[in-house]
């Protein structure tokens, strides 16, 4: 499903990640590792946000050779998302909806699940960190992407949103087979965390448990 081949990432000529080969089958994966080990860098590379040496392919579609088709299958949410403060959440939801060709009904469902209705029409400048986080998760869940990459998806969420996010991820995986690649520092004893496989980023490379 997800294949990394001869992937190397440098920052200021320092080698941060060196992954000769990595193959992941469909499933829920938790990326673990110490601060600065390169978890976010790995996820950003897989999401097609930053350049790197080598190639990453998903369902035999190469990110380097066919960036558009690859991006149609992958979506992403940041750990600490930043969006234009003058925009409303709804404007971003509509932007994603138009790019990913999703119906208004599906968007309304997502907004309902994460209780975004109350403030989605307000400008993002008025949102708290948790509200912005929920918006970024909703944006990542828009569309029928086959791989969803989430950096620290559960931080800053209130207990209700936390439960909703865990439930949504598990249901989406079970119903559609969508793969999830997520990073987390927390050792949470939830069904979601227990059902995922663990990948550790260590010594510039990755280990699968």
């Amino acid at each position: 499903m997800l294949q990394l081949s001869a992937v190397q990432k440098f920052y200021n000529k320092d080698l941060i990640l060196d992954i000769p080969q990595l193959h992941l089958e469909s499933g829920i994966y938790w990326v673990k590792g110490a601060n600065g080990s390169g978890k976010t860098t790995l996820l950003k590379m897989i999401a097609g946000l930053i350049p790197f040496k080598g190639d990453i392919s998903f369902k035999n579609t190469s990110l380097q050779n066919d960036p558009l088709a690859y991006r149609q299958m992958v979506s992403w949410a940041e750990a600490e998302p930043l969006f234009p403060l003058f925009m409303t959440g709804m404007e971003l939801v509509c932007l994603y909806g138009s790019i990913r060709n999703i119906s208004k009904k599906d968007i309304a469902e997502l907004l309902e699940i994460f209780s975004l209705h109350d403030y989605v029409n307000n400008s993002i400048g008025t949102y708290s960190a948790g509200m912005t986080k929920k918006l970024s998760l909703v944006l990542a869940f828009i569309g029928n992407t086959s791989l969803i990459v989430l950096d620290e998806p559960l931080i800053t969420l209130d207990p209700y949103a936390f439960t909703a996010a865990c439930k949504f991820i598990l249901e989406r995986f079970k119903n559609t087979g969508t793969a999830f690649l997520m990073s987390s520092h927390q050792d949470l004893d939830t069904e979601l965390t227990l059902s995922g496989k663990e990948i550790t980023v260590i010594n510039r490379s990755v280990l699968i448990k």
């Binding site: 979506s75 932007l95 400008s123």
Partner: protein, 375 residues
């Protein structure tokens, strides 16, 4: 420098000048290099006549006051926004100082922020004194004082009561018609919200220069538009600073967009649309000058040169994470190249080359760009 003043100085003054370095380089080049060379008179003689003319003509003085007011609005907004940044939340400790002391501190800060205008204002006052123009010089003094005191009082008030912020901000900025696809609209809304003063200033300069020089050129009996082109082009280059700011904004608030499934061609078209809207005032001005003051061919060349240049400046920002200084050096280099083309091969080759280069650099650079964390 005592400690409270030092902190305010570093928080507001230093960061304001740093952030607007490009604007000041542009302003000083225009005021003390380009315009003086154009005029042919010495630096002092030119500015002396300019100050004297401003003081003698009430309507011109009002225009100058308006320009100063726009500048003041820029630093007032900068300080106000800084006060509300999370990393500057420690500034609330200043509320423990007495009101008079707070006001005094902020007056000094506003004085420093106003310094470029203040120095020119002092020069105008001296000219006014020498020519016995007491009423206009008094109005200049009062206006400059109010530009220091009113913002200082406002900032003291703002620091004391954060809920007043909304009074200063334009809610949601200027609404743009939904004729464009969403992404260019987001970029244009950013310009309307955060760069409107810069944009208006650049447009005022570019369109004003184009209009006046083309008009003078014809009235003086000539039709050589090379000179007009150089100045018009200088204004277009100043648009590069807006493009740079747009890219900074993209990297901070729209970084997700690189990950969404939009083809490279569509992305390029979106930038091309953004550039087109940004340059509309220049295009309209060129259109207004046709056919009396500008030949059709010249107007088309001006428009295509300006447009291709802005597209190229945008594409350049994807090559590397340039600092503003590096970027300005590149703009200067482009200016020299354009000058060479103007004198030799001509503008048609130039804009064709720029369009092609813009496309190539964008396709090579877009997915490879990364905001590098500098050591």
């Amino acid at each position: 420098m005592n400690s409270p003043f030092k902190i305010l100085f570093r928080s507001f003054v230093q960061s304001f000048y740093k952030e607007n370095a490009g604007f000041f380089v542009f302003l000083f080049t225009m005021m003390f290099y380009i315009v003086v060379q154009l005029n042919g008179a010495g630096l002092f003689a030119y500015h002396y006549s300019l100050a004297s003319g401003t003081l003698k003509n009430n309507s011109f003085l009002l225009i100058v006051f308006f320009g100063w007011l726009l500048y003041a609005r820029k630093y007032v907004a900068f300080v106000s926004n800084t006060i509300y940044k999370q990393e500057y939340s420690f500034l609330y400790i200043f509320n423990c100082l007495g009101k008079a002391k707070r006001l005094r501190l902020f007056v000094f800060i506003e004085l420093l922020l106003l310094l470029p205008i203040l120095l020119y204002g002092v020069f105008m006052i001296l000219v006014g004194l020498q020519q016995h123009l007491y009423f206009p010089l008094l109005s200049v003094m009062l206006f400059l004082m109010s530009l220091c005191i009113v913002p200082a009082a406002w900032h003291v008030y703002l620091l004391n009561d954060p809920s007043k912020r909304s009074l200063l901000q334009w809610k949601n900025g200027i609404m743009l018609p939904r004729l464009l696809s969403p992404y260019p609209i987001i970029l244009l809304r950013f310009v309307a919200n955060k760069q409107r003063i810069m944009w208006a200033g650049v447009k005022l300069f570019t369109c004003g220069v184009l209009y006046k020089l083309a008009q003078n050129n014809v009235e003086a009996g000539g039709f050589d538009n090379r000179f007009t082109f150089i100045f018009f082009n200088f204004g277009i280059l100043a648009n590069g600073i807006i493009m740079y700011r747009i890219r900074e904004f993209e990297e901070t608030s729209l970084s997700f967009y690189r990950g969404v499934p939009v083809s490279l061609i569509k992305r390029f078209i979106q930038y091309a649309l953004t550039c087109l809207v940004l340059l509309l005032p220049e295009f309209i001005t060129a259109g207004m000058l046709v056919p009396v003051y500008l030949h059709y061919e010249d107007a088309i060349r001006f428009i295509l040169c300006g447009y291709s240049l802005l597209l190229l400046m945008n594409s350049i920002t994807f090559l590397k994470n340039f600092s503003m200084q590096e970027y300005l050096k590149i703009l200067l280099l482009i200016f020299c190249v354009q000058y060479l083309f103007l004198l030799t091969i001509g503008l048609t080759v130039l804009y064709l080359l720029f369009f092609i280069l813009a496309g190539i650099l964008f396709s090579k650079g877009y997915y490879k760009f990364e905001q590098v964390i500098k050591k």
